[in-house]
Symmetry: C2
Subunit: 106 residues, 2 copies
């Protein structure tokens, strides 16, 4: 395989990655909605640790665990932000007078 | 579906994501090796732009293009680093006297 072949393979992988990243983001949004509508705690600090432990356990390389964690830290940060933005309008609509700044994670 | 169900779904997606991220990393390593062994240019500045354009064109949400780019920028950065590290030992073994600091991307 030459460089063009490997890049074609990367483009094919990206097609799947974009789809899976969006499916993952949709899950985070749904979790945000459930957190808003129930009495379950919004912030669960252990969840991010568990996610990172899971992905490192699944990791077979060539990415090192540290590489994978760097990617996941960004991914979790982005998804936390969209979950927060999705929760924000209704929190404000419910008449909360204070800035919406609760911590959320998936 | 309750929060536990959505988290189970996230864990299943993460299993596929870790596999795909590693396959993508392997492609980047292979491209690095080909670059080292051929006269093809090592640094092609347009490639990162093309990758980001591709993934934005594929994007159907709920992630925004900006969200997706943030994830991909980290991903590309990590893969560029492992490509560089993979190329480094042999470049040194070939007797190059200077610090290995060429720019590489996939």
């Amino acid at each position: 395989m030459d460089i063009a072949d490997w890049r074609k393979r990367i483009d094919e992988l990206d097609q799947k990655l974009v789809e899976l990243l969006n499916q993952r983001a949709q899950c985070a949004v749904e979790i945000g909605r459930l957190k808003r509508n129930t009495n379950l705690p919004v912030y669960e600090p252990d969840r991010e640790r568990i996610i990172l432990e899971n992905v490192c356990r699944l990791n077979r390389g060539p990415l090192s665990d540290a590489d994978l964690k760097r990617v996941y830290e960004r991914m979790i940060d982005v998804m936390r932000t969209i979950q927060k933005l999705d929760m924000q309008p209704q929190a404000k609509a419910a008449g909360e007078g204070t800035e919406f700044d609760v911590e959320v994670n998936d």
